[in-house]
Subunit: 428 residues, 2 copies
């Protein structure tokens, strides 16, 4: 007896994606929502045949929808569902397919509630968001006021989603993934992402040379952004087949990269560090200068970080370094605020102040001003102290201010990670 | 005598952009070439009506080209001009318009030379790149092997460019810009962006109603992301004409929004605050809890912020609130860490510690854990203190942890801005 799920697999069809909104036709903004949608579709073997961006002109929208429907089995639109007059997705679908619209009173009530929860009155314009297609499925939006829709018209499946990224993400997970599971059957494509810290993109490529040769130059996707490098593995097939293949490759890569790999899939360095601190029942505090609070902010992006992060000092002046983190004024005098000695004293001092297992000290020159010949813009000193040791790194990241801040926090987080990994033994 | 450039001004037309290549339909890569093309077009007042990404299937390409030609005056394609079998742009144009192709021997010679310069022999496949349209303009590509094309078909102008970004850039500058200059003349598009704080998107819309009515529903682009709302004004014409038109609209909008507008164009709230602090020769320090360092980080994203930001305390525990910001333990005992009293004492305390003009205090519950019935996740207290006054706001942002952090910093920055604007008078 054939497995019905496998039968459905044979033809998952193709999809077309339309991003709606004139703001994405200017020279400054790209439609990034389509990437999230594509990832979900590809998991189930549905290929994206085309995607487009259209502005807020009704006739353009109507034409685009009709054209797409002629060229794909699944149409997914994002955006144009807001309350304002240039939100025309509802009207375009109505015209493209000759549908009827009606008011859904329950949506008005839900939107009114959302506003009331903030102590506000719902603006009259929001009522437009309660226009739904007669007889079609309204998709409740838990993260915003605009509901989405699912329509089956002319044997095509049409998904209409809001364009706000975190609203869209919730809706993809809540509606599109389960639907694909049901329609297409078992997930077809499997991925795993290995996250690398402490190497550049070309450093990663260099280390991968023997791997490429051993595997006949089988392609491997490497994505680099902001000192975080990801190695993407993927395999198609049943879950067992694909996972076996991926596990095998992963094992090889772990041998190649060893402690440079800090996590997998959607892991962040700050989340990996949080897990390590919890495992060790350890705590951390931070005294940061050039990163201006970003290091503390990244650590506290992790839910539950109040269990191990006790506090931070943003020491933008010599005075603050002394009275917030207890840095010895003589060290500042002798070596300057941006020095190994001050980074180490920041780490030791803040650790004492907060009575934490680890203290992190960061000092450097983010630029664009403030550089000297001896200490140019991009100079960075980071240190991690525990009860009887410290680790220090001098780095040089000559780049824009915001990139410097990010790279500096990445380096500091990685130094804490390596310090924990190697416990009380000196890192070389 | 009419100025010929002014005559041409009247109708620069609309454009459609197609990016060709299956690799841009996956979940990891976006077409960024279209942004460069858009910037060139918009400088001359040519609006982009739509843009799309299509894979390497001949029939999809033919259909897409035909569809676009029906919906714009200028069609620009990028990619699909390489030597391999999945480079089908030439074939698609041939089929879409019933053109003829012929071999251009001079192109073969040029490609052979490029290879020879590297000591290589031209692969046979590269000969495909010498197929040109009979009677049309071939665009020599100084940065690569694939030439581009310019075709005038059915009264439409078609530009066919390679997809490699630095090749495309050279071709835009060498061919498209001079053509637009000749065809469209001096006409350019001018923009201005007004930045709004302290209102929701629908709040902005509500306030704009009389404006829309007064201007016959002339479109106005409103962009909202993370509690920052932008109003985009644009006008076409000579610089003087356009600026006069924009200035007039801006004046009306400033009357409508008054102190809700904090800046223009690429301004950020933190940069606007930086300017205000410098004008007032004032300084600021921060004691933040639930925002975990993000408030200090945003302030220090601005180059030169060390001139007015003296330091911050990230007080993730009651202890830290006391010893870093000097909060009265009795207040924590009586009202709890998340309360008006503690927010105000954080602001006053950190101001005293750092001897700054202003102190900011932030305390709240970012979630997902830590909420209670009386103080649910999303509760936020912010305060700004100067030498003899303080301002306090209680807000409620029930959302994801990272969004809460962002909205909270936005609210705190805006409260500092309003405090400075209204000086020592009580804000209502």
């Amino acid at each position: 007896m054939p497995d019905p799920a496998t039968q459905q697999l044979s033809n998952p069809g193709t999809a077309s994606i339309i991003a709606i909104g004139s703001e994405m036709l200017g020279p400054a903004r790209l439609d990034t929502n389509s990437l999230k949608i594509t990832a979900v579709l590809e998991d189930f073997g549905v290929a994206v045949a085309r995607k487009s961006v259209v502005g807020d002109r009704l006739q353009d929208l109507v034409d685009e929808i009709r054209y797409c429907i002629g060229h794909a089995d699944i149409l997914i639109t994002t955006g144009g569902l807001g309350p304002t007059e240039d939100d025309l997705t509802r009207e375009a679908l109505t015209e493209a397919f000759g549908l009827q619209m009606e008011i859904d009173q329950s949506i008005i009530e839900r939107i009114e509630k959302r506003f009331a929860a903030r102590g506000w009155k719902m603006p009259e314009v929001n009522k437009r968001q309660a226009n739904v297609f007669a007889g079609q499925t309204t998709l409740r939006n838990e993260r915003g006021t605009a509901p989405g829709f699912f329509l089956a018209v002319q044997e095509k499946n049409i998904w209409v989603f809001p364009g706000v990224p975190h609203e869209l993400e919730w809706m993809l997970e809540t509606y599109l993934t389960p639907w694909l599971q049901q329609k297409v059957g078992l997930r077809k494509r499997f991925r795993r992402v290995l996250k690398v810290a402490g190497l550049t993109e070309s450093g990663v490529e260099e280390k991968l040379k023997p791997y490429y040769e051993a595997h006949n130059h089988e392609p491997l996707t490497i994505l680099a952004s902001g000192a975080q490098i990801e190695i993407h593995l993927q395999a198609d097939g049943t879950e067992t087949e694909a996972k076996t293949a991926i596990d095998e490759r992963e094992k090889e890569l772990l041998t190649i990269f060893s402690d440079k790999i800090y996590g997998f899939d959607s892991d962040t360095l700050e989340a990996a560090i949080g897990r390590m601190l919890i495992e060790r029942k350890a705590t951390v505090s931070i005294a940061e200068s050039c990163t201006g609070g970003l290091l503390s902010s990244r650590i506290t992006d992790v839910p539950g970080s109040s269990n191990y992060f006790l506090g931070g000092a943003v020491c933008y002046t010599a005075d603050a370094k002394m009275f917030l983190a207890g840095v010895d004024p003589a060290l500042i005098q002798q070596f300057g605020e941006v020095s190994e000695q001050v980074a180490v004293d920041l780490a030791k001092g803040v650790r004492r102040r907060f009575h934490t297992t680890y203290g992190i000290g960061v000092t450097g020159i983010a630029g664009p001003g403030g550089g000297t010949e001896a200490k140019p813009v991009g100079t960075l000193h980071i240190a991690v102290a525990d009860f009887n040791h410290y680790e220090h790194r001098k780095l040089f990241w000559p780049m824009t201010r915001s990139m410097f801040k990010w790279f500096a926090t990445q380096s500091a987080l990685d130094l804490l990670r390596l310090t924990m990994l190697r416990a009380a033994t000196k890192i070389d």
